[in-house]
Subunit: 463 residues, 2 copies
């Protein structure tokens, strides 16, 4: 292991340059305009795997963007780790809020990242974190120190709901046979407070359209006489939360598993400062469901948020128009045992039922995903915990996260495998936002920690 | 007058072609990108006035777009009619809903316009209606039949609140001295139900911005923990109307003059079919303030409508983001004696007061305008009524309109003059909407009717 770590130390500059090159390809999966770049990124990832020493590397075509597969089987009697990651990224807009172009990475220091952070779309989510595995693998291979088998499955549609991954997994049970799935697409509490995500929220995402009159109208002549789709949409959205910020969709909470008081007390031990939280976001107070703390609201409770809204005249100046249509994108984060398909149905039925006379409503479901929990007594979790303890010098805290990686539940269903979420990002890394970044410290810490996971996972399996 | 009408008949093709040329210049005053075209339109209007026989024609520069002035003084002892109109137009968007390009006028028939209608932005509002006056003037001049003095004041900022017209009027009291102001920028009930607008609503227009966290956030990590500016904006907008669709801004109705039961009975005599209204708009019901009929809601009652809303991710697909900011454009139509400045203040104070902890609100007032009422016993109204009766064969109905022409109240204050609103458009002409049009019948009916107004206004003044 000394050789591996020394190799990593020696090659830091190159490891960083290679990541910057990868970040320069704008692999925005949500926008068809970037299609060529997304394919180019897949090819680049495949080449990186080959260069690192992977075998059977293949760009597996799907109905959408391809999945990059590669493996290194050293001994079929040894355990196999299946590494999952994604090479696609979120759209960069609003681009005007970036301080550097989103696909021209720069490194600069921040108060949280005194050693510098890489600013670029995808730096943390997930190119940077995915690439840590490629480099850690390279370090182990080049030093003849790979302790077990490894398989890579890197997809290009995570940011649009992994629409074709399920089919791929279903059709490749044998090829994907493994003992654990390892993913770095989450975060830690702080650079000096390592943590491992043990729970993920599910997701239901819908787009709604409210139609009033059949054409845009002059608000002077028709104002006050007809249902204005924007006002109605606002009213319908407002009605989705009550005065305690409970979600009002009938049946929404029916399957939510409430944590015991003991579990909540355990959770409350993770450090959290409301003052620091508010200061970082420049807000004077938090807001959320009555009866729960902010960390609880963001992890063990389901939520409903409007992610986008539009309608009418949004240009410069004033236009006195009543729009014919108004739109919103709405997502719900789900917790065990809420089922995304069932929740989407509840939403559609409720939203249609509250549309007033004079309007029509159309709800289009986008992707969804099931919530998931990783048990902390599994071999995978234990190996990860030991690995973090080794490189950070302290035992990591298990935390439930508010985010969603819907494929974790799918992996369990299809492959019968638990997923270990070894994330090295920070909440402040602004993923999905302008100025996304990833600490240089975090990038290398990930590359250093991953080989220890391989080592301990192998050892614990042998024991 | 026979000569005048014969001249109009003879020149119909040319009158139409000249209007189409004027409509081809995209004079969108709200968007700085069209600045050159707006100036070009002013020059075109000035040239048309000169060609028609106007004197002292001048393109009067202002701090914004110029005002075109021209006059023909035949005898200072005769009455003077001041014609007002505007050569600027609303933005054309959403452009994808136009069946022809907005600035490439075409003529086609519709069920309401079997003789054809001119489809183009500004066809009705107000290039078409303004140009009727230029052509009617030409017909009177060329046949030595102008019965009294006339002055033209055609501005280029009506669609953005006539911001510089007030200054111009204040500085030109002597030049603008007249006996009545004549404006064609309103509509009639139907081509076989002539009507004259006797009341206009005022306007308060504001843009609101709700800020939550200082940057866009990942909805998985922060959803449910912080105030989401879009959800909050929706809630704030929803709260502006109560369950009876009364506006909840404290003090909003304090100065509203309620009509007497007699006045409301008189109003109710104007033909109105809710069925036809709903069918035309493809809605299953109307919506509005409890206790008032649809025509009342659209004319004698103040209203509040969102004209535009935007925030977050509005592109293709799904993005799980909590936006840092959300925006809306909101307009309020006002009735006598509501004061737009006072109402705007009430709105700002109320909107700021309802912003919850965790958010900040900024309200930017756009333009406003006072409501106005034209008495039907004035010489101007009587002359207009006689003129319509002559050309339509039936007496026009006086109606209160829901629209706003804020400068009408300003004219009365500054110049002490009442305005006669001789409009020839129809509600169905889709002004401010895609596929705005103006009936060919209406265009020529306007040109034919205006000379009669001149005749009767002169005669009634002599009497």
């Amino acid at each position: 292991m000394e050789l591996v770590q020394a190799y990593i130390s020696r090659n830091k500059d190159r490891f960083l340059d290679e990541l910057l090159d990868l970040l320069r390809i704008p692999s925005v999966s949500a926008d068809p305009a970037y299609s060529e770049s997304v394919h180019k990124t897949a090819a680049s990832v495949a080449q990186s795997l080959k260069n690192a020493g992977a075998e059977s590397v293949e760009i597996c075509e799907t109905a959408g963007y391809p999945i990059v597969y590669g493996e290194k089987i050293i001994d079929s009697s040894l355990p196999t780790i299946l590494v999952y990651g994604h090479y696609d990224v979120q759209p960069a807009d609003p681009i005007e809020l970036w301080t550097n172009p989103a696909f021209e990475p720069i490194i600069k220091t921040t108060p949280i990242h005194p050693e510098g952070a890489i600013f670029a779309r995808g730096a943390c989510d997930d190119k940077g974190q995915m690439f840590m595995h490629v480099k850690a693998f390279e370090a182990m291979i080049k030093n003849n120190a790979l302790p077990c088998n490894v398989k890579f499955m890197i997809e290009g549609e995570e940011e649009v709901g992994s629409v074709n991954l399920g089919v791929f997994v279903k059709n490749n049970h044998a090829r994907l046979k493994a003992d654990v799935i390892l993913v770095s697409d989450t975060g830690m509490l702080a650079n000096d407070v390592p943590s491992i995500t043990t729970g993920l929220r599910g997701l239901s995402y819908v787009e709604v359209e409210v139609t009033g009159p059949n054409r845009d109208l002059h608000s002077g002549l028709y104002g006050g006489c007809v249902a204005n789709p924007i006002n109605i949409l606002a009213k319908m959205i407002a009605s989705l939360h009550d005065e305690n910020n409970h979600i009002t969709i009938p049946g929404f909470y029916d399957k939510v598993i409430e944590l015991t008081d003991g579990e909540r007390r355990e959770m409350a031990k993770a450090p959290f400062s409301k003052e620091a939280y508010c200061t970082a976001l420049d807000i004077d107070d938090v807001m959320g469901e009555a009866g729960y703390s902010t960390p609880e609201r963001g992890s063990i409770r389901p939520t409903l948020d409007v992610n986008g809204i539009w309608g009418g005249y949004t240009g410069e100046g004033a236009k006195t128009v009543i729009a014919s249509k108004a739109y919103a994108k709405i997502s719900m984060r789900l917790v065990p045992d809420q089922d995304p398909i069932e929740i989407t149905e509840l939403f559609v039925n409720h939203f249609e039922s509250i549309a007033p006379a004079g309007t029509r409503v159309k709800v289009t479901p986008h992707h969804g995903g099931e919530p998931a929990v990783t048990p902390i007594d599994s071999v995978g979790y234990k190996a990860a915990s030991l690995a973090y303890e080794k490189t950070f010098g302290k035992k990591p805290i298990p935390v439930r996260s508010g985010g969603s990686i819907p494929i974790v539940a799918m992996f369990e269903k299809e492959l019968g495998l638990k997923t270990v979420l070894m994330g090295f990002g920070l909440d402040s890394d602004a993923i999905h936002s302008p100025n996304e970044h990833f600490g240089v410290f975090n990038y290398f810490k990930g590359i250093e920690t991953i080989p220890y996971f391989f080592k301990y996972f192998n050892e614990l399996n042998q024991a």
